[in-house]
């Protein structure tokens, strides 16, 4: 996860076309930060973006397009897919499509809130550890190590279980569990940026620690953070489904993909459709985020070059 060279002012660029004043340079830097979107070469990333756009559209407008109450027991029970109920009905005669649409809203909400928590907490921890180094770094990273000593889902189950089984608590639990990953990546990226001369010059010019962190470090770790946010949105959605499946997330009768999958288990022999659609929804959305993350990594990590499904070698 290296910062992109492009962010560092290069003399050759700065002298192009005569003298460039500070304002123009700022505008140029801002433009170049978005320029990566023009470098899209990985078809997988586009597929991922398409899946996610579709999912967001379903969550936002699904209810308007398919105006059926997800909780109303209006139909016959355990119907197979038909024109009236495109995805069939469940064990209480509720429309599965309406419940899947509601589940899309639930999973998106949980994903955004949980990743939001981890993004803020992890960035603060990582910035502090990477900037101050020494004892601050050692202490914070020990806490992070300790959190990594428990398998993610186990920690989430314990936190969500002790807080009490509600969706709000599931979001908090997932947020806490993925925070260490954010902290570690941010710290690594910060340490790398800290090595560039512009940090030293900022400090020599009298910038405070806070200013260096906000004005100089934060903008330069955007690339790895963007990839991290994308992939962890998928992870958070998967975790919410797992917690709801275990009865520790969204509580019935409210529809959630994990909860639907859990209640379908009793009807596996009678109606297989019930266990297929919610699982498919989870898998496709998580796949979308992983595809998009893969595409973003491609354009943001210059070491890899364009390739599908590649991973950086860890050393």
């Amino acid at each position: 996860m290296s910062p992109r060279r492009r962010y560092v002012p290069e003399p050759a660029l700065a002298t192009e076309g005569g003298s460039v004043d500070a304002g123009a340079w700022g505008a140029m830097a801002r433009r170049s930060r978005l320029a990566f979107l023009g470098k899209w070469r990985n078809p997988i990333g586009l597929v991922g973006a398409g899946i996610i756009l579709f999912n967001v559209a379903v969550a936002l407008f699904g209810r308007s397009a398919w105006n059926v109450d997800p909780d109303e027991q209006a139909y016959e029970r355990l119907l197979p897919p038909s024109w009236a109920n495109p995805l069939g009905t469940d064990e209480l005669g509720r429309d599965t499509l309406a419940r899947i649409i509601h589940g899309a809203q639930v999973s998106l909400q949980v994903g955004l809130v949980a990743v939001g928590i981890a993004l803020v907490a992890g960035t603060v921890i990582g910035l502090l550890a990477g900037y101050y180094k020494g004892i601050v770094d050692a202490l914070l990273m020990r806490v992070v190590d300790i959190m990594f000593a428990l398998p993610g889902l186990v920690l989430a189950v314990v936190i969500a279980g002790l807080l009490g089984p509600t969706r709000r608590n599931a979001m908090i639990a997932i947020g806490i569990v993925i925070t260490p990953a954010f902290a570690r990546v941010v710290r690594g990226a910060v340490l790398e940026v800290m090595g560039y001369p512009f940090i030293e010059s900022a400090r020599a010019l009298g910038s405070s620690g806070l200013r260096v962190m906000i004005r100089h470090l934060l903008p330069n770790i955007g690339a790895p953070l963007l990839v991290l946010v994308t992939t962890y949105l998928g992870t958070a959605i998967l975790s919410e489904a797992a917690l709801s499946f275990l009865g520790l997330g969204t509580q019935p009768p409210e529809a959630s993909w994990g909860g639907m999958l859990n209640s379908s288990r009793l009807y596996l022999d009678l109606d297989a459709w019930l266990s297929i659609f919610p699982g498919l929804a989870i898998a496709v959305v998580v796949l979308g985020f992983n595809f998009l993350g893969d595409g973003l990594r491609d354009i943001l990590d210059p070491r890899l070059g364009p390739s599908v499904g590649d991973v950086p070698v860890q050393k």
Partner: protein, 316 residues
């Protein structure tokens, strides 16, 4: 080498201490008075009854005192009694631990046995159709929820073969075949994620190693293609892969926790979840600690293995 092993082991002490304190505090600091919940809002309960319950749970005294009582017992294998049936927690763990470990072991075995060759093929046939298929499959593999996969596997075997695995746990010492038939579906379900990770990692490290000078030298002096791949390259390519295996054990344990419930296996994950719903605090503390210790232990083994395979590590 021995010095290295001792050093790695000693480094675990602060981690284990931190983890146990973390678990201890988590159970106590998260909102909700344990005693009120346990007595189920019984308003007739007198202060004496509550005090008695607190003493029984080891919840009296200062935190350091409570911690010391808990951890000194835990080190000797005494985790107190389960609140649900007054059975010693250690006895429950002794029965449930082998089940989870078997699941994790089978899952890991499958992931490595299938994942490594797929990664090698993907690397030596770089950018071929097969390589692309494997890479996309790798991304699909990390996206499928293991609990859905487990459900689908059950659905598939019951619809196609009319077969479902035995519903009550069979010990491998009583009937190894029956035991295996019971564990095959859940361990397959949890291994897919790890398989995909292993495959992608092997592919990446193989590509790196195949580009190195000694591989070209071996080819130039006339060593056969297969021998170069499997003897010269794969050996070095596998070293970094070993490091992710330690982490994957955690992933597999998370997976085991959830598929144990689907398949009705009384493993540690199943016990933990029951304990959570029953607010069985001694049980929650003990299972979480044991899971952490296993995870940390696996990572120690991985570290040591890494040191043996790559002497540069131990030299530092």
């Amino acid at each position: 080498m021995i010095g290295y092993i001792i050093k790695r082991t000693l480094l675990l002490v602060p981690t284990l201490f931190g983890v146990s304190v973390g678990i201890f505090l988590m159970v106590r600091l998260l909102p909700g008075d344990i005693i009120d919940i346990l007595l189920g809002g019984d308003i007739t309960a007198t202060e004496e009854v509550k005090q008695e319950a607190r003493e029984q749970l080891g919840l009296t005294g200062s935190y350091p005192e409570q911690y010391w009582n808990w951890i000194s017992g835990a080190v000797q294998g005494d985790f107190g009694d389960s609140l649900r049936n007054a059975e010693p927690v250690s006895a429950i763990l002794r029965d449930s631990l082998p089940i989870t470990l078997e699941l994790v072991f089978l899952g890991l075995l499958f992931a490595v046995v299938v994942g490594v060759p797929l990664g090698v093929i993907s690397a030596i046939r770089r950018d071929s159709a097969r390589d692309y298929a494997a890479r996309v499959a790798g991304l699909v593999g990390v996206s499928i929820p293991n609990f859905w996969l487990a459900t689908l596997l059950l659905l598939f075997t019951s619809k196609v073969f009319g077969w479902v695995p035995p519903l009550t746990y069979v010990s491998p010492f009583d009937d190894p075949l029956e035991n295996l038939s019971q564990f095959i579906l859940p361990s397959l379900a949890i291994s897919v994620f790890t398989l995909a990770i292993v495959m992608r990692m092997v592919r990446a490290t193989m590509l790196e190693v195949l580009g190195q000078d000694y591989v070209r030298t071996a080819r130039a002096k006339g060593v056969g293609k297969n021998k170069v791949v499997y003897r010269h390259a794969l050996r070095n390519a596998l070293i970094p892969v070993i490091t992710i295996v330690g982490f994957e054990v955690g992933v597999l344990m998370s997976g085991a926790a959830i598929v144990e419930i689907i398949f009705g296996l009384p493993g540690v994950g199943n016990q933990l979840l029951q304990a959570i719903f029953n607010r069985d605090y001694p049980m929650i503390q003990a299972t979480t600690l044991v899971i952490a210790v296993i995870f940390i232990g696996f990572n120690l083994i991985v570290d040591v293995l890494y040191g043996i395979l790559d002497p540069r590590i131990t030299a530092v």
